[in-house]
């Protein structure tokens, strides 16, 4: 049976030691979020995830969701878990106090998101989608709509969805056909079919608030003609109570590779009543407000799955005895040595650890920046932070979910044949992780976003928010002997990243296919370099604490993991760089017919 223990020690390290979590209280609106409040919240969240959500993870995967006559039933125990989740106020932690939320900083919320994803990703989809809908609605909805819907969504009594995809249109939203016809009373009649709608139908909440992209009659073709609508499952009366069933019905649910306890619905809208969110034709703006926070959250899903897989890998490697160490017996009292002694098993465990702790730091950097972007009193600081979040969003999404996939696969490998057996739980994480590389914009699309949008914007201004602090850190620590073994590999990777960036900017301007062909390697190179920088900073924080009263072995392990990262993982930047500099000719010149 798998286990999960929230990694609170490392989370606190990221929040308070690597980032300046204590300074969050200086931001307007965050005054009360000192350690005295945040620490207990994290501990409570850990408890909930370990004791309530985690126990129904594997059973939920085995059972899956059930569909019958338009009704979807979540697996056994989900409803009870959700009730506890909601009653504990966890649906409202990251929401605006104006609508009954608790206004928790993103830096803290991000850690809780990771725990939820570790313990039960399928479960996390339901409140996760609600939160996405909350972001769009609170950012773009009319006061009337917000007053009517947000408090119940924040409370968790109602949930939300985001309805984008149609059978013929996924990445290219310009193709979408769902139609909106004005009813004459300010509402619209929405007709069309949406697929792949996570949390599109279920039995956890009283009502479901669908946010639906559709085209108002006569609107122009392409993305300019798309508007966003609020379409509730049950119409809401003026007094807030539920009225008639709306014409939005679940036609079926998908049978999937992973996240089987998350209901993925086909939704049929048949003249369903909906209300416009924001301006006509500006639907994508409202949608992207959600999409950006969701992409960060998906990155955390990758991290969460990696973490739980790693924990079980370590337990197994300590416990499982098999063969003897090739350098001599390590556990003479046992019939064989624990597999932990074998170099390749150690390599796998360290790979997991180095990626995970690096990604956690990366997530924390972006989340803290998001807090600054939303709350800092100085407009310049807000813009700088916002730029960094824009830049790193595709990297968090794609790099961290790729890492999730790699690490969970290693988790199966450490288990050997038992990893392939369902009962041990490791294979579920591989299957669950697979979707995170696909939804909310495939990782290929994330890479295109990075080179096509984020890189050239404002002649590279977003890049400045990353390159300048990294360059400054390298310069400041170049002469630091204790850090030399970390600074030098970082500096090397950083120069590669600079050169690759310059190359793509130059060549990609004239030949977009070249930028496209380089994009995935470039995103990986960027992510690896970002992690190297964060590892460097983690070492900078940790070194002075080794051997002090604070030290519990944690810091020495940090430094040792950093060393592994620099020596064994960061060199991947070399071949990524070679790929980029080789150009896209071998890819693009291949005849289409020969595929």
């Amino acid at each position: 049976m798998p286990l999960y223990k929230a990694p609170l020690r490392d989370m606190r390290f990221c929040l308070y030691e690597l980032m300046d979590g204590d300074a969050l209280t200086e931001l307007p609106g965050y005054e009360e979020f000192g350690r005295d409040l945040v620490d207990p919240v994290l501990e409570e969240a850990a408890k909930l995830c370990e004791e309530v959500l985690f126990p129904v993870n594997r059973s939920g995967d085995e059972e899956g969701c059930a569909y019958e006559n338009g009704v979807v039933r979540t697996p056994k125990g989900f409803k009870e878990a959700y009730d506890q989740f909601r009653d504990g106020g966890w649906t409202s932690i990251a929401c605006d106090p104006a609508y009954g939320g608790q206004g928790l900083p993103f830096a803290v919320d991000t850690l809780i998101t990771e725990m939820i994803c570790s313990s039960n990703l399928s479960f996390g989809m339901y409140p996760g989608l609600s939160h996405g809908a909350y972001v769009s609605l609170s950012g773009y909805g009319s006061e009337e709509l917000k007053a009517k819907y947000l408090p119940r969504m924040v409370e968790g009594v109602w949930s939300g969805t985001m309805c984008l995809t149609e059978p013929h249109c996924g990445t290219d939203l310009g193709l979408l056909r769902t139609a909106a016809v004005p009813n004459g009373d300010g509402s619209y009649a929405i007709t069309g079919t949406k697929i792949f709608i996570s949390a599109g139908e279920h039995d956890l909440t009283e009502n479901i608030v669908h946010l639906v992209l559709a085209r108002i009659q006569g609107a122009p073709k392409g993305v300019k003609g798309i508007s966003l609508f609020l379409v509730p499952k049950y119409l809401v009366k003026d007094d807030g109570s539920l009225g008639a069933r709306n014409g939005a019905v679940c036609g079926s649910i998908e049978h999937k590779m992973g996240i089987k306890a998350s209901a993925t619905a086909v939704l049929n809208f048949d003249g369903a009543t909906g209300w416009l969110i924001g301006e006509p034709g500006k639907g994508l703006n409202a949608m992207f407000a959600m999409m950006n926070t969701e992409r960060l959250a998906v990155g955390m899903q990758g991290l969460g799955l990696a973490e739980v897989s790693r924990q079980n890998s370590v337990l197994y490697a300590r416990d499982r005895i098999q063969g003897r160490s090739i350098s001599g017996t390590k556990a003479p009292d046992k019939a064989a040595d624990p597999i932990l002694v074998h170099p390749d098993v150690r390599r796998m465990l360290l790979t997991q650890r180095a990626y995970i702790e690096g990604c956690r730091a990366l997530g924390q950097w972006v989340a803290t920046s998001l807090d600054i972007a939303k709350h800092h009193p100085d407009a310049m600081k807000r813009q700088e932070a916002d730029d960094l979040v824009f830049l790193l969003t595709p990297i968090v999404k794609a790099f961290m979910t790729d890492v999730g996939s790699e690490v969970t696969n290693l988790g199966v490998q450490v288990f050997g044949g038992h990893g392939f057996i369902r009962e041990h739980g490791q294979e579920q994480y591989v299957r669950d992780a697979r979707i995170t590389q696909i939804y909310e914009g495939t990782n290929g699309v994330q890479a295109l976003d990075l080179v096509g949008r984020k890189m050239p914007a404002h002649a590279g201004r977003y890049l400045r928010r990353f390159f300048h602090p990294v360059q400054a850190w390298i310069e400041a620590n170049m002469e630091n002997e204790a850090l030399a073994e970390f600074v030098q590999p970082l500096a090397k990777a950083f120069v590669r990243l600079q050169q690759a960036t310059g190359q793509i900017a130059r060549v990609g301007m004239a030949k977009p296919d070249e930028a496209g062909a380089a994009s995935v390697d470039y995103l990986r190179l960027f992510g690896l370099t970002a992690l190297a920088y964060l590892w460097g900073r983690m070492v900078e924080v940790s070194l002075p604490k080794i051997g002090t009263d604070e030290d519990d072995g944690f810091y020495a392990a940090k430094v040792a993991t950093a060393r592994f990262y620099m020596e064994r993982l960061l060199p991947e930047t070399g071949w990524r760089f070679s790929n980029i500099m080789a150009g896209g000719k071998s890819i693009m010149a291949f005849p289409d017919d020969a595929f």
């Binding site: 404002h458 002649a459 590279g460 201004r461 890049l463 400045r464 390159f467 300048h468 990294v470 360059q471 600079q498 960036t501 310059g502 900017a505």
Partner: protein, 778 residues
């Protein structure tokens, strides 16, 4: 009797055109008399020359400037026609630019004829009255010296001069005036027939009317109209309604009426000359365009500077919107697809441009003998990038004729002649145009004109990369040409310049730095620099600065003469390259200066060093190092730009020995001649050393800037940038007892530049300039 070369000119009539012509004659360095009438009802003791004097005052304040320098203004002698008519006696050319009334003009001609010296040329700037009517009843001797010289407004800037010779006009009179207009006034002279509106206005007014009438008829929004009848056809982006706002709505009814009155009944123009009640009302209410309360567009200040556009259907102003013309996207760059587009906008494009081009073809043999005269008139009189026949070539002659026939529009004989052909072709490296007789003839440049565009027709560059080319322009001289976007300077240009210098050393005699872009160079490619700065590629940036310095230095000390020949903007690095050549031969309309502080940087390619050297060598300043440093600091820290080549001389960007060419077409030939004149015995300059005041001067300059900052005239980042500029100009950590080498100044520039490029304030300035085209005042 031969006509003497023109040494003195008179202009009679000190209205907008007359005064502008006088100012421009003065710009050529020629003395000019400007006369107007004695003010009516003048009180006792009042100034009888007040009108002409007032006109000169207005000229001095004109924007864009009418004079190229203050010295030019002193060449204008204002007077009145009653007391000062005797001043015409020694004038070689007398230009009449008074009100368009035949009787007044003719009585003036009689007065002129009584005092003018024999053989002097007399011309009228009339735009509407036929020449034969103007000279009717006057002596044959007068008629023999008389012609029409039709300038365009503003006379300094518009390069077209339409010249009409009458039946009796002596060719010598025409050639003397044309020659002066070409060489001294820088005009491109187009010979026109004595037909109403000559060429440019005849066609231009037809075009404007068609665009207005069709917009009303079809119900096209004016923003869309300007987007269609603008850029896609190579017409300035002001389009039609924007242009009418500029010239003044009130002018149009007069121009239309006089053209209509003079043209035969069957002329196509009449169908387009319909009254527009809305425009009449606008004129009556004072909405005459930019000079009035607003025009088709206006800035609504009551609403807080909201840009508004008029709705042609209702006559009400509404918020200006972006043009929305899907047809343009569908058509891509194909004019044919745009004209055929099955949409309101496609029909509008055809109705306006189809008609205009059909009319242009009808003018061949009527207003002009050659198609290229009509093209040149529209290019220079209306700033079209392509003339009407170049546009027809682009559409395709046969396709165009087929469309005309389908639309029931007249097909001019020249279009039949051109069936299956085009109006222009390149044959044996020469550009040829089709004559009315169907024969091809070379497009001939005026004597002595040398154009790179012509050289390119039959030659390949000696060296070339993505941003620059090197051409052999004959007689052992090469031309280094920038070819990048806006001629922005980038590493490719610097690299090719270095290669070129090495090549010329071995195989040629001299180098000219010249190009035929609308701007010589807007300076360094900021986009590249900003991107490099954003990714903290500091070594790359420093290398760009250092290699630019090294290459410019190599240019300066090359063992052969180098002549820079700028026209238009030569800013920042584009100014620095001028100052590193052996000599400059500038087009009169050259706008140059070291503007780096506008983007938070300092001149890093030897600009600081060169200005110090030039002011030390040539400036008439008090003795000691401080006045020079102060002067150069003022120029660089306020990003001063010369508004003409004459001003560039005043600012010492150009040396006293540098030359100015008035005619854009003659610039390359003049630069080449200058280069060749320097070849014999050429020795590169000695490296200068500088005596500079050091840190005390820096703090003195900083105190001055701090004072401006307190007054709100300098921004916080200005203080940062100025300090670095002061640091370079004062010579760093030197003092007056230690001479500073040129290399040390290059080094100081580089260091200051590298410090500035790392500041967020400077990066914000660069970004703002790139995105808005305007300086950020942070």
């Amino acid at each position: 009797m031969s006509i003497s070369p023109i040494k003195k000119v008179a202009v009679i009539g000190a209205g907008v055109m007359g005064a502008g012509i006088a100012a421009h004659v003065a710009n050529s360095g020629t003395p000019v008399v400007l006369l107007d009438i004695v003010p009516p009802n003048l009180p006792e003791g009042g100034d009888r020359s007040a009108i002409a004097k007032g006109a000169v005052e207005k000229l001095l304040k004109a924007d864009p400037a009418a004079f190229m320098s203050k010295a030019a203004a002193k060449l204008v002698t204002p007077g009145n026609i009653e007391d000062d008519i005797g001043l015409l006696a020694d004038c070689d050319w007398i230009v009449e630019a008074i009100i368009e009334r035949l009787d007044l003009k003719q009585s003036l001609y009689a007065k002129i004829d009584a005092v003018r010296k024999p053989g002097s040329a007399v011309s009228s700037n009339t735009s509407t009255i036929p020449l034969d009517k103007l000279v009717a009843g006057l002596s044959d001797a007068f008629a023999a010296d008389f012609l029409v010289t039709h300038f365009f407004n503003p006379p300094r800037y518009m390069r077209l001069l339409e010249v009409v010779a009458g039946a009796k006009t002596r060719p010598e009179a025409v050639s003397a005036v044309s020659r002066f207009a070409d060489h001294r006034l820088g005009k491109s002279v187009v010979a026109c027939k004595d037909r109403p509106g000559f060429i440019a206005n005849r066609l231009g007014v037809m075009w404007l009317q068609a665009a207005v009438v069709e917009a009303f008829d079809l119900g096209v929004a004016i923003e869309d109209a300007d987007a269609i009848i603008g850029r896609p056809f190579g017409i300035p982006k002001t389009g039609v309604f924007g242009l009418l706002d500029l010239v003044g709505l009130d002018l149009m009814p007069h121009v239309n009426a006089s053209l209509a009155g003079a043209l035969p009944a069957e002329d196509m123009f009449h169908a387009m000359n319909r009254p527009a009640p809305l425009i009449e009302r606008m004129i009556k209410d004072g909405y005459t365009g930019r000079k009035g309360k607003g025009g088709f567009y206006r800035l609504n200040r009551e609403k807080g500077k909201v840009k508004e556009a008029i709705d042609l259907a209702t006559g009400d102003y509404r918020t200006q919107r972006k043009a929305d013309v899907p047809a343009l996207g569908d058509a891509g760059r194909s004019l044919g697809k745009l004209l055929d587009h099955d949409s309101l906008h496609g029909r509008y494009a055809w109705n306006v441009m189809g008609r205009t081009l059909a009319y242009a073809a009808l003018l061949v043999g009527d207003a002009a003998d050659e198609v290229d005269a009509i093209d040149e008139a529209m290019r220079l009189g209306y700033n079209w990038k392509k003339g009407p026949f170049e546009l027809i070539d682009e559409i395709g002659v046969d396709g165009f004729v087929a469309r005309l026939e389908k639309a029931g529009l007249p097909v001019a004989p020249i279009l039949r002649t051109a069936a299956g052909k085009s109006f222009y072709r390149i044959e044996n490296g020469r550009r040829q145009c089709l004559g009315l007789d169907g024969a091809w003839r070379d497009v001939v440049r005026p004597e002595g004109v040398l154009m790179l565009a012509d050289i390119k027709l039959s030659a390949q560059p000696i060296l070339k990369n993505g941003s620059a080319s090197l051409w052999d322009i004959g007689d052992g001289v090469v031309c280094f040409e920038f070819t990048s976007k806006m001629n922005a300077l980038d590493p490719d240009i610097i690299a090719l310049l270095g290669k070129s210098i090495a090549l010329v050393k071995k195989s040629y005699k001299a180098m000219v730095v010249y190009n035929e872009g609308s701007q010589f160079s807007v300076g360094a490619n900021l986009g590249l620099a900003l991107f490099a700065a954003n990714i903290a590629a500091w070594p790359e940036i420093e290398n760009l600065v250092a290699s630019g310095q090294a290459t410019y230095k190599a240019l300066r000390y090359a063992p052969f003469p180098t002549v820079a020949a700028p026209s238009g903007m030569a800013l920042g690095g584009g100014c620095e390259i001028l100052m590193h050549c052996s000599a400059i031969q500038a087009h009169a309309e050259t706008y140059t200066g070291l503007v780096e502080v506008g983007v938070g940087l300092l001149p890093g390619w030897g600009g600081c060093k060169e200005l110090l050297r030039r002011w030390t060598a040539h400036g008439r300043l008090p003795k000691g190092p401080m006045p020079v440093v102060g002067k150069v600091f003022e120029m660089i820290s306020t990003a001063q730009v010369a508004k003409s080549a004459a001003e560039a001389k005043e600012m010492m960007i150009m040396a006293p020995t540098d030359g100015i060419t008035m005619n854009r077409y003659r610039l390359l030939a003049d630069a080449k001649a200058k280069a060749l004149s320097m070849v014999e015995g050429y020795a590169p300059p000695e490296a200068p050393t500088f005596v500079l005041p050091g840190a005390t001067a820096r703090s003195g300059l900083n105190m001055a800037v701090a004072g401006f900052a307190r007054l709100g005239k300098a921004t916080p980042h200005d203080v940062v940038v100025s300090d670095e500029v002061a640091g370079v100009l004062s010579g760093g950590d030197t003092d007056v007892t230690t001479p500073v080498t040129e290399d040390r100044l290059y080094e100081l520039e580089r260091e200051g530049f590298m410090r500035l490029v790392r500041t967020p304030g400077s990066l914000a300035r660069v970004e703002h300039m790139l995105e808005t085209g305007k300086p950020l005042r942070n």
